[in-house]
């Protein structure tokens, strides 16, 4: 039964990988795949709000722009914002958590109370509060803010792991051969935390894509004429009744990408967790 479950997770992970890979390839090769210029407005009256057809598979929006092309170019922004923000979050969370866990004592207590306080504020609220300070926000700042608010949870996980890892014999052994504190942390302890970080990164990307979409929808994220999936949904929001395709397709893309990231993250978690994977291995043998 467990073996069957494992098999199912693996299959879902494979599908998720293929889907993500496809989206990334299309985004990277956007000029090749997109049939039209995403910001060209060829005929703002004649070609506006066309329903999906062979020449415009996702239809056109109220400025006569091709929604498919916009979604393809939007993927570039949505994905790169998510990837960069997650990288920032992972770096901050890992370093912060590792230092707190390794140093311990009063430093740890203070650092973790700060994280507790930060975690007590809903992230969306925090983001809106920060982003509302700017008018016409540059993209890099969006990335920094998304990354800078996304590391609290990870830092707790890393800290907990470092706390238990630093008690292990091989850390004492590393101290016994004269390795310094930073060296032990970077070279001996952190490599053991990598599985946690990979899982957190995968899950984090899915989360940031949704967050960025939400912010762009609220007009706080990516600024026009550049488009992310969230801002394309926003473009079509007031015409949902008449031109549903403008919002529907980017919405589906967001859902697909997020689900793919989450399934991959879950699969990696069970694959990289030594306890779960040893159970899975034992059952594969029998």
């Amino acid at each position: 039964m467990r073996a069957h479950w494992t098999h199912q997770v693996m299959r879902r992970a494979t599908i998720a990988c293929v889907v993500l890979l496809a989206i990334v390839v299309v985004a990277v090769l956007a000029p090749v795949f997109s049939p039209y210029d995403p910001i060209a407005q060829p005929d703002i009256i004649g070609l506006k709000n066309l329903a999906p057809s062979l020449s415009h598979p996702f239809g056109t929006d109220s400025y006569s722009r091709d929604v498919l092309s916009r979604c393809i170019y939007g993927a570039r922004i949505s994905l790169s914002v998510a990837a960069l923000a997650t990288t920032i979050a992972i770096t901050l969370g890992t370093l912060y958590g590792a230092i707190a866990g390794y140093v311990g004592g009063i430093t740890d207590t203070i650092m973790m109370r700060i994280v507790d306080a930060a975690l007590a504020i809903p992230r969306v609220l925090l983001l809106i509060a920060i982003l509302a300070l700017w008018n016409g926000l540059p993209l890099w700042l969006l990335v920094v803010v998304l990354g800078g608010t996304g590391w609290f949870g990870l830092s707790r996980m890393v800290r907990a792991q470092v706390l238990s890892l630093r008690e292990l014999d091989f850390v004492t052994a590393a101290r016994a051969v004269g390795a310094s504190g930073p060296r032990i942390l970077l070279r001996h302890i952190l490599p053991n935390v990598v599985p946690t970080i990979i899982v957190a990164a995968t899950l984090g990307i899915g989360h940031v894509i949704i967050l960025e979409a939400g912010l762009s929808y609220l007009g706080l994220g990516v600024q026009p004429p550049a488009a992310s999936w969230g801002s394309i949904i926003q473009d079509g929001a007031d015409q949902l009744g008449s031109a549903w395709w403008i919002s529907l397709f980017p919405g589906l893309l967001i859902v697909t990408t997020a689900i793919a990231c989450n399934s991959l993250g879950d699969a990696l978690r069970s694959a990289l967790d030594p306890r779960e994977s040893s159970v899975a291995m034992a059952e594969l043998d029998s």
């Binding site: 016994a176 051969v177 004269g178 390795a179 310094s180 001996h188 490599p191």
Partner: protein
């Protein structure tokens, strides 16, 4: 005797928390000369491992080495070194191997990397030089095809091979002193013999001194020159191996010896020492072994015995040295009478 390589004097390592003070090591002194093997013997809780960790100053909070202790290594007090100076001693001049080679090796680094790491920490060896040094050291510990083994991870190796890797890691910089904390306890008996043999061979080749922490008197008889018996955080007896096995003085040493099976002697049941080591938060006053001792009398409860000289370079922390006739008055130890578990 010339200046010893290592001289531990009045070492006290206490662990303090809200419930009180655990005096794990309580005034331990002994010396190790160049090239010799000194065994520290005692059961669990006697403070022998804490002694070993204290020498390299690897004790972590809430544990601390008390002021007044000295650990002289080549005449230099290790307790006065700052952290950076101490790091140049660890792994370089004094190395240590641990009981559990599996948990003492990092699961995510190859064994070659871990050995090379020691060289990279202490010398200016390049990555390549360090790797070659690691392979060479693995070969020296008798591992077959060391080059292939070096790029394997600890879980791919057997217990005996892991301990060889630990030894390679400890000896790669040719330290003057190796502290071996129960190096054979976690291994199969056949492998134990191989590892001991290896340690002896390397000791002769590299001319280092070994401080062997063990609870196995069989191992002691085989490899040690001198023995320090610990009980209750103290040294209770100190002698050369021959002297100790021929004339054990302290009742605890006697107990340890009679708990050991011997060739050529009919034994139905091995003797045991009744009771357990008292918790280090509450050593009994007087003699700490008193309740488990079959000779104890009033004096043992009131007066803490000093180390008496009982022979040539032979000392024992027992009042029997002053009142030898008491040895005839054996009785059931208090611990056995109370516990009734014998």
């Amino acid at each position: 005797m010339s200046e010893p390589l290592l001289a531990v004097r009045d070492l006290r390592t206490y662990f303090r928390d809200r419930e009180g003070i655990a005096r794990a090591v309580d005034g331990v002194s002994f010396e190790v000369s160049r090239g010799e093997t000194v065994a520290v013997v005692g059961e669990s809780g006697s403070g022998k491992s804490v002694t070993a960790l204290s020498i390299l100053r690897l004790i972590r909070a809430p544990g601390a080495i008390e002021p007044g202790s000295t650990i002289l290594f080549e005449g230099r007090d290790l307790l006065l070194l700052d952290d950076a100076e101490m790091r140049t001693v660890r792994g370089n001049r004094i190395a240590m191997i641990f009981q559990e080679p599996m948990s003492a090796l990092n699961p995510v680094l190859t064994v070659g990397e871990q050995i090379a790491e020691v060289m990279r920490v202490h010398t200016s060896a390049t990555r390549h030089e360090a790797w070659e040094g690691a392979v060479e050291m693995l070969a020296l510990t008798g591992i077959a095809s060391p080059r292939e083994r070096a790029s394997e991870y600890p879980h791919q190796l057997s217990g005996g091979m892991r301990q060889r890797v630990m030894i390679a890691m400890a000896l790669v910089l040719r330290p003057d002193l190796l502290i071996a904390d129960e190096p054979t306890t976690a291994l199969d008996v056949t492998i134990q013999a191989q590892i001991l043999e290896l340690l002896q061979r390397l000791q002769q080749q590299l001319g280092m001194a070994v401080l062997l922490i063990t609870h196995d008197l069989g191992v002691v008889a085989e490899v040690a020159n001198r023995v320090v018996v610990m009980y209750g955080g103290e040294v209770v007896e100190r002698a050369s191996v021959a002297e100790l096995f021929a004339h054990p003085h302290h009742p605890y040493t006697e107990g340890l010896m009679s708990a050991m099976p011997r060739l050529g002697r009919q034994t139905d049941r091995l003797m045991t020492i009744p009771g357990v080591v008292p918790p280090s938060t509450a050593w009994p006053g007087g003699c700490r072994f008193r309740e488990r001792c079959s000779y104890s009398w009033e004096r043992c409860a009131t007066q803490h015995p000093p180390l008496h000289i009982v022979g040539t370079e032979h000392e024992s922390r027992c009042h029997l040295a002053a009142e030898p006739l008491r040895r005839k008055a054996q009785h059931i130890p208090l611990a056995a009478a109370l516990g009734g578990s014998v």
